[in-house]
Symmetry: C2
């Protein structure tokens, strides 16, 4: 069930279910940035979403779809990023337990955030093997339901609600671009956008240094990232069979971008729009900068995925 | 004429005049910050104003009130901060010249901003004497009208329009707090707020390390700052006779805050609200943190004055 491919009707239902719990985030524009890139851009600001990232949509939808019996036993996942925080808060709002498996080496700030949302953390080594094994143990002990960050029907439906709101507010968009990590956001986005508006183009944007989705898309088979290494720390993960299938069927293209352009785009958003976005969120604007001619004369919507950055480790020195 | 004390009618007229040129900025709230401080806070986001600061309101109003003859000759001021950028853009929008006197030592980023808005810069030494002398020379040569950043009737009327919008959108506010530098913003704010809502309290917030307004207010006479030294670089200036008179008549109190609290408040806004504010803008929240009991049970409106920071020189290390 959790690896069924959603259709737009599923996203509509998901939206109704999560509406009381998530923010309808604003869409912002910047004359300054439009002038620099020569294209009309619209930014859907999921950095203003609860826990500071779109992940709260999918996590909320997933926990709200649990049966009463499942809910009682709680939810679990292995992650040190936004999905862990999102699942923790979504669970707390339902008064059910959340068990988060996290590497010891995770940044203190992320451990603090997850603890702050009331989750129980189990630490493990940082290998994928250690994480999965620890998750198994936690599941056996607690009976909690594993909520995968993107290889999950309900999560993808939740992530698709951002694009639904975007096109309700800005029906004129010709293009939507979202970043691609594990593919949950771009999957939900592409299902919603293609159903709502015939002829709309949907692009994924990915760091060149973590281009598993690009290579999978071009070669027609799932190729996991080997040694992803990008400043866009939310995009280190590889596609799952489910998100790969959706991406393959729905996307117009995947655009890869250089690290310098990501930092340039992030700085542009901070300086011109006065909003805080994480590096992953700057990847679509970087794609517009690097592929300017592709978008000339178009109204381009960008999903800002989140705003969680470590203020003590900002990347801007790179640009000077 | 430029040192007459405005009444609320003047601010209403100013608002009508500048409406086509300025943003009506949003008001944001943060459940996270409300929970931390235990008070309901509302933030009027002038960091999203054009040029990234409320100063654009006053500058726009001042240039729009010039006679045709005056306008032709342009405007001038001495400043390296937000007023210089605001006046430059306001002048460009009217296709009139702006002449900005600026110390050689001003940060490159500020010179670039003012040049970017099409102004002509005249450099001078960094003493006040050198600035005033250079301004005299520029005025004699060009016939440009000097627009003082706050000792100016039309500028104060323009700054007051932020509080007018704030109370139109949130008529329930019990308190408004704005930062105090030269006093233009708090002057306009207090005139508007006290006229719109009987019984509303208006507080100025000021760094302890630049507390000329506090001392002037308490001692009933204008006492310029001697050696102001604060991270809130927009608040280094001292009151003028005009702003002192308004503040003296209108404010309920001035609250001074420590440097550490300013940095703590700034970090809280960045991390929780995902918006970029300059240190001066964090001073009112710092005042709420340091004077928590004063505001218990109240709906408190804070004017976020601007969002222009040097991303290569952020102050957050101080808090660790």
């Amino acid at each position: 069930m959790t690896d069924k491919i959603p259709v737009y009707e599923d996203i509509i239902k998901a939206h109704e279910r999560i509406l009381p719990f998530v923010h309808r985030t604003p869409v912002l524009s910047s004359t300054g940035i439009n002038n620099i890139v020569g294209i009309h851009l619209y930014f859907k600001c999921e950095n203003f979403q609860k826990v500071g990232a779109f992940k709260f949509r999918g996590a909320t939808h997933a926990v709200r779809q649990l049966t009463a019996d499942e809910a009682k036993k709680g939810v679990t996942t292995h992650s040190s990023g936004n999905h862990a925080a999102a699942l923790s808060l979504a669970a707390r709002q339902m008064n059910i337990p959340a068990y988060i498996v996290m590497p010891e080496s995770a940044p203190a700030i992320k451990k603090k955030a997850v603890k702050g949302y009331g989750a129980e953390i189990t630490f493990c080594d940082s290998t994928l093997e250690a994480r999965e094994k620890t998750l198994d143990i936690v599941q056996q002990k607690t009976g909690a339901t594993f909520i995968h960050p993107y290889h999950n029907f309900n999560v993808i439906c939740g992530q698709g609600t951002a694009a639904k709101e975007f096109l309700e507010d800005y029906p004129d968009l010709d293009v939507i671009i979202a970043p691609v990590g594990g593919g949950g956001l771009i999957s939900g986005t592409s299902i919603a956008a293609k159903a709502i508006k015939k002829g709309i183009k949907v692009f994924g944007a990915e760091p060149l240094n973590a281009d598993d989705a690009y290579r999978s898309f071009k070669q027609g088979k799932l190729i996991p990232a080997l040694k992803p290494n990008t400043i866009a720390d939310g995009l280190l993960t590889s596609l799952s069979p489910l998100t790969f299938q959706i991406i393959r069927e729905n996307l117009d293209d995947i655009l890869t971008v250089k690290e310098e352009t990501i930092v340039e785009a992030m700085r542009m958003i901070w300086e011109r729009m006065k909003i805080i976005v994480e590096p992953s969120s700057a990847v679509p604007l970087a794609a517009v900068i690097e592929n300017n001619r592709l978008f000339k004369g178009k109204k381009v919507g960008i999903i800002i995925s989140g705003g969680n950055v470590d203020l003590d480790n900002l990347p801007f020195k790179l640009t000077h």
